[in-house]
Subunit: 223 residues, 2 copies
C-alpha cells in the first residue's frame, strides 16, 4: 500500500490524494510537517517538500506532486486525468502549473504563513494586510475560474481533469484558512461545489489541522 | 515554424530551446520581457510568464515550460528526453522540478533580481549579501549534482534527459550572472562541460542580455 507523507493543509498533497482516490489507489497517511521533518524524509526528497509517496513493498519513492501525478497517470488506467490530444493535455498541464505556482504563491502560501505557521511555529499574530492582499489575489483567480467554466464544462476541457483537482486542492486550503469569499463568483462556486461533493473529497473535508478551525461553510456540501 | 516568446536570461525558456534543438524542432525567438509585456502576451499566458511557444499556422499556443516539454515529448519522437520506465520518468520529472523550483528560487531568481532587474529596471545597485547567499545556495545544489553524476552517467539516469537540460539551463543563467564557482565541484563541472558542448547549447552561449556582461569563462567550452 502507498504511504503519503503530508500534513492536512498541504495543497499539493491534497491534489495527489484526490487523484489517488479518483483512480481507486489505496493509501495511508503518514503525517509529515516539512518544517519539522527528520533526516529520513530529507533522504526521500532532497527538496524537503511534501508530498512524498512511497510503496515500501515495491521500493518506489516518488516526490514532486506533478511527477507523482504523471506516474499514476502512466501506471493506472482508471479515471484518466491528463486526457485527450497532446494539445488538450498541454492545456491541462498549463492550468495545473497556474494553480500550483501562481495561485499557491499569491493566495495559499501567504494564508498558510499568516494563519498556520505564525500560529503553530512562530507564535505571532497574523498580519492583516497580508491576509487582505491574499484574499484580493484570490478574487483575481476566481474571476479566471468563472471565465473558464463559462466556456467549458470543466477547467481543462470537456472532462474532469488534473486541472480541476489542482485548483480545488488549492482553493480548499485557502477556504479552510478563511481566504475565499464566493460573492460575485457564482460560476466558480458552482464548479467548486461539484468537485467538493465527489467522494474523493470527503476525507479532506473532515480533517482538521490542530488548533486551526475552518469557517462553518468549509465542509458543507451545499454552501 | 514555432515562435518562442522569451528573453535571453530566462532559464525556463533556455530549457525549452535546448529541448527543441535536441529534437530538431525549428523555432524563431520573439523577444519578450515579462515585466514589460503587452496585452497580447497576457492573452496567450494569463500567468504572464515566459516561455510561451506558438505555432501560428497550426494555431497552437503553449505555456508553462513543463507543459511545453511534455507536449514536444508526446509529439516528436526524436531524442526522447523523458524516457524509460514509469519510475525512471518520475525520477526525471522530480529532478526537473528540483531545478525549476528549488535551484531557481535559491539561486537563479535572486541573481536575476540583483544583477538584471536592479540594473535594467529598478536602477539600484545589487545587494552584496543577497549575492553571497545565492552563491552559497548554488554550492549546495552543485554538491547534489556532484553526488548524482557520481552514481549515474547523467543526472536522471543512464541517458541524457530533460533533467540535464533543466539543470544546465538554470546553471547557465546563474553562471552568466557570476553566481557559479566551480571550485570543489569537479564532477558537476565535467558534467556541465559535456552538456554545454552540445550544438544545442551554442546559440544560448553566444547571446547577450543588453548591458550585462558574463564572466570570461561563461562561453568557453574548455572551462
Ligand atoms: N513542487 C512541489 C511543491 C511542494 C511544496 O511546496 N510543498 C510545501 C508544503 S504545502 C512544502 O513542503 N514546503 C516546504 C519548503 O518548501 O521548504 C510539489 O508540487 O510537490
Ligand atoms: N513554471 C513556469 C515558470 C516561468 C517563469 O517563472 N518565468 C519567469 C522568467 S524566468 C517569469 O516570466 N517571471 C515573471 C513573473 O513571474 O511574473 C515555467 O516553467 O514556464
Amino acid at each position: 500500500m502507498w504511504r503519503v507523507y503530508c500534513f492536512p493543509l498541504c495543497p499539493f498533497s491534497r491534489k495527489i490524494r484526490l487523484l489517488m482516490s479518483e483512480k481507486g489507489i489505496g493509501y495511508e497517511i503518514w503525517r509529515t510537517d516539512p518544517w519539522d521533518a527528520g533526516e529520513e524524509f530529507w533522504d526521500m526528497n532532497p527538496a524537503g517538500r511534501t508530498p512524498v509517496v512511497r510503496d515500501a513493498v515495491k521500493d518506489i519513492t516518488l516526490a514532486d506532486s506533478r511527477a507523482i501525478a504523471e506516474y499514476f497517470e502512466e501506471t493506472v488506467d482508471k479515471a484518466p486525468m491528463i486526457n485527450g490530444t497532446a494539445k488538450n493535455r498541454a492545456e491541462i498541464r498549463r492550468l495545473v502549473a497556474l494553480f500550483d505556482e501562481n495561485f499557491y504563491h499569491d493566495v495559499t502560501m501567504p494564508l498558510l504563513h499568516e494563519r498556520m505557521k505564525k500560529r503553530l511555529i512562530l507564535r505571532q499574530p497574523p498580519d492583516s494586510r497580508m491576509l487582505r492582499d491574499a484574499m484580493k489575489m484570490a478574487h483575481g483567480h476566481l474571476d479566471y475560474i468563472d471565465y473558464l467554466v463559462d466556456t467549458r464544462p470543466w477547467l481543462g476541457g470537456p472532462q474532469m481533469s488534473l486541472a480541476d483537482l489542482a485548483a480545488a486542492a488549492q482553493i480548499s486550503v485557502a477556504d479552510y484558512l478563511g481566504g475565499i469569499d464566493w460573492r460575485d463568483h457564482a460560476e466558480a462556486h458552482s464548479w467548486y461545489t461539484t468537485v467538493k461533493s465527489r467522494p474523493s473529497f470527503g476525507p479532506l473535508l473532515s480533517e482538521r489541522m490542530e488548533v486551526i478551525q475552518p469557517p462553518r461553510h468549509y465542509a458543507l456540501l451545499d454552501e
